[in-house]
Symmetry: C2
Subunit: 438 residues, 2 copies
């Protein structure tokens, strides 16, 4: 421990920035015992330096201009905790150009611009570490990229958005409507004032893009992820799913099917007995299935100041250790050697095969079940279960639930449009996908 | 990928050895895409080379003498998959002395002789990797040592013996007695012909020794682990625990209490709603609580040819990557720098505080509850719950269950000996510890 501490420049003094400073200080002794040298933040940039004064920043130079941190010759590692695309992208590329290593928690940046950033980093022989970009404190990037490197990864399926999981958990446990639970989540700070990125599945799609790339050795391709939010899931759907032995979770699913990759984020029915079904509230978990290891699962807090800082600091320790190593022999940014990235296709959603949950509003007259089952049968869709509730005395429609076996999505699309055209069916069919995760 | 493949010498062609050869071959392309070069087994030693011929060993020289593999100048990494202490210890030290890196799945060897082996490896600047020694395919060594390196680890608690978990799961689900379920487990290959190491908690204590060392930066000290097997857990205990809202699991628990470390393996009541309570059958899971990350859990198969091979191969990839790096900057074998290992004491079991489950056989006469509660009260032991069943018409004793709040073990020992001395109590008190794992 005779070496000088490594000097960090920190961009962004928000929740994660503050958490990172706290963890680095509180655990300075423990971190140095592991890394063999200290890791200290020497300078930090905040949009509003005055506001940042509430943090214990003694010994840290605070600047309003992030470019000054990136240009500071004393800074060896730039820690980007601003979030969003710009100015984060420009700052990260500038740090790389100056030969500095980068640690980032920025999932949108990596998902959308990672290919460009990692290529620039490889040219300069520097590292860009991003454990904190996926599932907060869970070391899932390291687990897939290094801990399971002997496997052909078959499936990655994760609860990777705490806001969605909190909302679905509360809807099930308290029976509240989506809008009411969302408002409560916003009040508690579990959902943003503008919750679109979370509830529409975009945040999960960013993370899934990254997980799929390191699992399968494919480029980052966010634009290929099929994304569906949780806004249409009703309290009654949660109850019907329970009755059928399933729980509804918003999952990010990446599967290697041999002939192509599936990349999709959507509300999903999973068997209640599966370990991932028990992951509640804001907790995250990622199931990874490898051909040798079988099923594995990684569970923990997916957000928050200190869980995210845990990942940022472990990345800092990794970078400090590997700074003196030959760049050629470091763990590749996306797990696979840059010249070994596969161009296997991502399947369009209509080519994906899953089982389905269908809810439709039927005019309660004899023959409606026969009509629907005839349509499903004509498209080779087998029915696994049907729930038909007794109609309310005052209602002239009754909800009918179908659980089907696996079928290719384009056939299901055809079935749904034919069902919606039936006189005996009112409004749209609501469809969710069902996964056994086996 | 223009580099020559790395050449492996494999000691032991049993279950894990065979699995490792299969995984390295089946996933050769995938592994080379990650590692940047191939990894091939060039020679292997088997106690019975004739028997090993059933494996697909084309291109692998098979020797009866493991020393020949260790001495082979072509071999760069020795993979020790023999198990047990000797000759594994001598062979590993010989490989290190020749400047070869070592990958091992041998938990007993690391737990008992790791301090010596890692010191020898550090002197020679070689790596000894041992991910496969704990929890099979779950990358738990990497998660604690690298993925959570920013944390002060507070607790590690794991289901780290599949045999015990299988037996306890079957006892609960089928209501079978310990001996019957053990016999069935032996028939299915989930328990050894001599099951002592597993059911007495010794195997779990080996693994816990390793986990505690890398979590807290303490030496490997197997002799300090308190170990209690599952042989005395009755079917009725499982039912009473369920009634009280708990599930019984054999846990390895390592806790940093500030004033000392707890190291213990014993059957434990844990809340049914805790995620680790749902880990069933032969599956393993390890809960790790860090001060920054909070609770995390790592789940997967803890044994078997391919899950263990998954860990062996990921270690091989790690070693191949780090072979060219400066030994000073590699991840330390036990997570902390050798000069930063702490000599904090391991608490004797009688100093550990836990809550307790007590089952006693009471002569069913008025006053027995009063006597027992008076003893507990006189030792400041608060009672959380009592179950007293209606006596059988033919039985002259009735089981009474007490759940207590947390108390230091020596007080509980005193209470138990006083309770056993009561006229109204027959035989011994059966005691298990209760953990909320919060």
């Amino acid at each position: 421990m005779s070496l000088q501490p490594v000097k960090i420049g920190l961009l962004g003094l928000g929740t994660v920035g503050g958490g990172t400073i706290n963890v680095l200080r509180r655990n300075a002794g423990e971190i140095a015992r592991r890394a063999g040298r200290g890791i200290v933040v020497v300078s930090a940039a905040a949009r509003d330096p005055g506001k940042a004064r509430s943090l214990a920043l003694d010994g840290i130079r605070v600047a309003g201009d992030a470019n000054a941190i990136v240009a500071d010759p004393e800074v060896e590692i730039v820690c980007e905790l601003i979030g969003g695309i710009e100015p984060a992208r420009t700052l990260v590329l500038a740090a790389i150009a100056r030969g500095k290593h980068v640690v980032t928690a920025n999932k949108a940046l990596i998902a959308l611009h990672g290919n460009e950033i990692f290529a620039a980093a490889s040219r300069k022989g520097v590292m860009v570490a991003f454990e904190a970009a996926v599932a907060g404190g869970i070391p899932i990037i390291k687990a897939i990229r290094e801990g399971l490197s002997g496997n052909r990864i078959q499936t990655v399926a994760g609860i990777i958005n705490g806001t969605c999981n909190y909302i679905l958990t509360e809807m099930r446990q308290l029976g509240g409507d989506f809008q009411d639970v969302l408002a409560e989540a916003q009040r508690l700070g579990y959902a943003e004032a503008d919750p679109t990125t979370d509830i529409d599945g975009i945040d999960a799609a960013h993370k899934l893009t990254i997980l799929a790339s390191i699992a399968f050795g494919i480029p980052l391709q966010f634009d290929k992820v099929y994304t569906e939010g949780i806004g249409r899931v009703g309290v009654m759907d949660i109850a019907y799913a329970e009755e059928l032995g399933y729980r509804i979770k918003s999952l990010g699913i990446a599967r290697h099917g041999g002939d192509g990759i599936e990349l999709r984020v959507h509300p999903t029915l999973i068997p209640k007995r599966h370990p991932i079904a028990g992951v509640e509230g804001v907790m995250n978990a990622v199931l990874v299935v490898g051909d040798a290891v079988g099923p594995t699962m990684f569970y923990g807090r997916g957000a928050g100041a200190e869980p995210t800082a845990s990942a940022v600091v472990s990345d800092l320790v990794d970078v400090v250790r590997a700074m003196t190593s030959d760049p050629e022999n470091r763990v590749p940014h996306l797990a696979f050697q840059p010249d070994a990235i596969s161009n296997i296709i991502v399947k369009p959603m209509e080519e994906v095969r899953t089982a389905y949950y269908l809810r439709l509003s039927a005019v309660d007259k004899p023959g409606v079940l026969a009509n629907v089952t005839a349509i499903l049968g004509s498209l080779d869709i087998s029915i696994e279960a049907i729930i038909q509730k007794e109609p309310d005395k005052n209602a002239n429609v009754v909800p009918v639930i179908f659980l089907t076996q696996r079928v290719v999505e384009k056939n299901m699309n055809e079935a749904i449009s034919r069902i919606e055209a039936l006189d005996s069916v009112r409004g749209n069919v609501f469809r969710m996908r069902v996964e056994t995760l086996e």
